[in-house]
Symmetry: C2
Subunit: 199 residues, 2 copies
């Protein structure tokens, strides 16, 4: 495969992609039109039982919202990715990828879209990663407002504007899953693409 | 095995247990002395790849804090447990079980305890469940205060007083993992037992 470094890849609306990232490489996730969300998963290459962990990362950060400088830990407490640049500063790490079940349970759809979950499962299948291995994703640009008293969670439009981006440094050789989110609430009711670049 | 229904079992301080629960049975988790936490895991018997999911449960509830009436969903969006009685009303579903890594990273311990994570892994091993299959637990009585603006998480003493309890109805045949928590912050700096009863 020719060197893809620096090339801009597009993930079309309501779809997903999977690709590898080498330790030391940087992944930049770009919101080309603004107000779009990208669900991000990372697995250790060679042992895909090691995967990003919301529960460990938030525990060690003692904070719900991550931004520049924050590490993303695996279920084995190893750092997988580190956020090294972030023009938005608001992402979600609480909710699982939207799925056919999400659309059925939350939106009442009778013939639901497979959602980010289905898109991630399809994109990750060639790497031998099954749907049960999909945990809470790091939801880039997703804006979940939290009421600390009641605990109420509300999904608001992303704060990202056209061209905003977040850059992750890979601390290990990884397999990445990434989507252009399929859920109406997450992207202010307009399905849009996501761009990404590897340097 | 003789019928254990209604018997009170004790989980000693800083330890864990695993047992089965049949669909329709009720599990009551009791804090015998007050201000103690019990990490709860549930797996579907016969297919332990199906496990409780914080990310799905919080998404469908649109709320961080669960109490009486709330279902706990699996990673496949099936209801596993339902909270049917709760004298406390404050639990955590954000953080992974404390582990040797927690004690190393957060407390700076050089010879760390294996924590709830190690206790759960040991208790669940006879059921063929490995450590990589341990997700975010439902942390009964754990009191994590959330600042909705900054996202700051602070672990406060549980609101549970001696004798307080939470009862879960099993919606499927389950394997349960349960601990008396090992982390100082979680239980106001005193290691205490946890009691449970199955009816």
């Amino acid at each position: 495969m020719p060197d893809q470094t620096g090339r801009i890849f597009e993930i079309p609306p309501r779809s997903g992609a999977a690709f590898t990232l080498d330790a030391g490489q940087r992944l930049t996730v770009i919101d080309p039109q603004g107000e779009q969300v990208a669900d991000l998963l990372a697995y250790v290459r060679g042992d895909t039982s090691e995967v990003i962990s919301s529960g460990r990362t938030l525990d060690y950060a003692s904070r719900l919202f991550l931004t520049t400088g924050d590490p993303i830990y695996s279920n084995r407490s190893n750092v997988m990715l580190r956020i090294i640049e972030d023009t938005v500063g608001r992402h979600d790490f609480l909710l699982t990828p939207c799925s056919a079940d999400t659309f059925r349970i939350i939106y009442g759809d009778e013939q639901p879209h497979r959602g980010c979950f289905g898109n991630l499962a399809a994109a990750l299948a060639p790497y031998g990663i099954g749907p049960d291995q999909i945990p809470i994703a790091f939801n880039v640009f997703m804006n979940v407002q939290v009421d600390g008293q009641s605990g109420a969670l509300t999904v608001e439009p992303p704060m990202s504007k056209a061209g905003d981006h977040t850059t992750f440094l890979a601390e290990q050789d990884l397999i990445i899953g990434l989507t252009a989110c399929s859920a109406l609430q997450s992207n202010n009711y307009a399905f849009k693409p996501i761009h990404y670049r590897i340097d």
